[in-house]
Symmetry: C2
């Protein structure tokens, strides 16, 4: 299968782009090779798609509930009672809807952690994007028997047959140091090692978390995770707002990746993350939106802008968080963190990409397209999205989007109240 894009702008140069299978085969002027699909993309710019490295996508079901409450009131009054009502079917429809939002914003990947994750895998498969999907089990306050049950659930998920090995990877949700016992942390570590899995952990999100860990364990969450062998090059740590210099050294030594979530960190007043310091230290920083209940969006364009705003204010320097570094966190850094050889538009790379409408009012003037994407663009500047060489949005239309919205709205009804 070959797709040929004609007359597309690549950083100001007009080129043709030939995609064969799931890769860029040739990028040059006037490609004359035949193709199954030929598209004239005049007036559009080709750029990498986005990789959202920390999500709970089905929480879109809970978007806009209890925005302005303290954490415990929010969880207790708004979130937990509704999460208890969720069925696998709800997760399936919510995932499809959330993925529709992601595609509309140019995102082709999520590193997702939530309940009924088999349903999220099904939705990812059908929508044509990529994902690392994991299922969190927590054992805080559990009995010995309950912990054994939870371990079995983890093992069941490891055994669960992946429906699409090309685009979906089963990962390991190791929720956090404050929700898992030492025994469960070691279990997670052993299973992840045995199956060579990605490990998805919330770490150092709040000052309170770090202080409590030091009080209880005599070390920081990062130091604690290291003891269990949970810091690997396939580990992604979400948030990392509160890190010591030693924590940064440890993260760097293990080539562990960070999923920075600036909007969520602001909204939940977790603090300003030291983006520039981490970047300068050589740690791989990627970008995530967190769930829509604490954002309230899955949009990576906005996340990049808030990432820049956080970086400059945190470092007290206009030079911090420059647009090129920020852009990499949302694209190539996220892709590479999960072994996806994409995130740049180059021959031989995997063809995950988007097209921008250069005639869009938000992209004028066009002195610097990367600056416009980071600071000015909104979802509707993106006209087309390709994942793994296949087109999944065409002129802002996603297949079946009307039905996906309608199905989602039906399941939303029962979550309006907590009863």
């Amino acid at each position: 299968m070959k797709t040929l894009l004609k007359n597309v702008s690549l950083r100001g140069r007009i080129v043709d782009v030939l995609i064969e299978g799931n890769k860029f085969k040739q990028i040059s002027e006037n490609i004359t090779e035949s193709a199954d699909i030929i598209l004239d993309e005049s007036g559009k710019a080709i750029e990498p798609a986005f990789y959202n490295t920390h999500t709970h996508i089905s929480m879109t079901l809970l978007k806009g509930l209890g925005d302005d409450k303290e954490l415990f009131d929010w969880l207790n009054e708004d979130i937990w009672p509704r999460e208890a009502k969720m069925t696998p079917e709800d997760i399936y429809y919510a995932s499809k809807f959330a993925i529709l939002e992601m595609i509309k914003g140019g995102t082709v990947f999520c590193n997702d952690m939530y309940q009924y994750s088999e349903e999220t895998m099904r939705a990812i498969d059908e929508m044509g994007i990529r994902g690392v999907v994991s299922k969190p089990e927590i054992d805080i306050g559990c009995s010995k028997e309950e912990l054994e049950e939870k371990k079995q659930k983890v093992l069941d998920f490891v055994e669960f047959k992946n429906i699409n090995e090309e685009r979906i990877i089963k990962g390991m949700s190791c929720h956090s140091v404050y929700t898992l016992s030492d025994e469960f942390l070691q279990f997670y570590s052993d299973i992840a090692k045995k199956h060579n899995m990605y490990i998805h952990i919330h770490a150092c999100e709040t000052k309170h978390e770090v202080e409590e860990c030091i009080k209880k364990n005599g070390c920081t969450p990062i130091e604690f995770l290291e003891k269990f062998g949970l810091l690997t090059e396939k580990t992604i740590l979400a948030h990392c707002v509160h890190l010591s210099d030693n924590d940064i050294e440890i993260i760097k030594r293990h080539n562990t990746k960070i999923a920075h979530c600036p909007v969520s960190n602001f909204k939940l007043k977790s603090g300003l993350m030291a983006f520039q310091k981490l970047h300068d230290s050589g740690v791989t920083v990627t970008l995530g939106t967190d769930g829509s209940a604490s954002n309230n969006s899955l949009g990576m364009l906005e996340e990049m802008k808030v990432c820049a705003l956080n970086a400059k204010t945190q470092a007290n320097s206009s030079k911090a968080g420059n647009v090129y570094d920020i852009y990499k966190t949302a694209t190539v850094n996220g892709a590479n963190a999960f072994g996806i050889d994409a995130g740049v538009i180059e021959e031989g790379k995997i063809a995950d990409f988007v097209l921008y409408d250069l005639n869009h009012y938000l992209l004028c003037p066009n002195y610097n397209l990367v600056s416009n994407i980071v600071y000015s663009a909104q979802n509707d500047c993106i006209t087309d999205v390709f994942c793994d060489g296949k087109q999944i949005m065409c002129d802002r239309k996603v297949e079946n989007e009307g039905q996906i919205i309608e199905d989602f709205r039906k399941i939303v009804e029962k979550f309006k109240t907590i009863s």
Copy 2:
């Protein structure tokens, strides 16, 4: 002239809305009165439009230049050489283009400060929005003769015939305490008082500004402005990031208004503004984007979200910056600050409003429309914009938008380089 909107959603209730002249005449179910224009707005929600209270709209010409430079390098290398090249014609076309962006984002008003402001007034008139427009003159480093020339320019602007007294007001740009001599500050104050004008001032944007003012004048910028009689109920102070408790008392005593610009404050690392404290003190806080060279957007939806993020993190409280208070800063507070009896959808109020597409994917689920507008909406959720009772955007189309973009692109060419 009467316009009747049928079947529109007003906070969940389906109503008809009758507009006569520039006001809401009747809002109720099943209005049967005849009208010149009858529109079926099923599936849309009616909400207030936005009032952007601190702008330099023509700076859209310079969007995306030198994002990551220190202030002085940015001004010296990117901004000042290009501003020196600007002609009245450039300002006219840039203003029209910037207003197009504002309308697409639901904004019907700007409190604008920039050179060749007569041209911005012409653009505002033609595009059908509202504005308070002022023209800054600064006398830092000027000779006595130069100051007299600048005073004459201020007087000339005061005498300049306003082309549309219904929607446009000439204001007084009193740039800042650090760019104006005592003599010029007093002159501005006297002229503003004589002509009962709105006064637009940058104040307490950076810590440095406050420290320098204290060093030079023995008091804060707010205390200093008060001495010249520049704090009135028609004064709008942009930024106000660094205020003392006494400053807040003074601002409150004079019923002076604040234009909070959170995105610009983050991007230029000016600091976190105490939104909740100011709100609780009873001071009127309104919302502004600043110019697109330091944002890089004129979008009020995004500005509201960043306003909430700033408020929660600054106050270290999830309850700070609640969606209803934030929404008011961007709507009714901004309107009322400039004597516009709008910003709420009620009979008798001026008919400035927008319609949201309730079927838009970003507005689902719709547990709380205000939360969705503040946290989740993007420009393309807004389908229609009305200002002063007249429709200025219809199904996302603004009259002549293709031509406006084309004209803008032509003038952009000469600003690509500084030579």
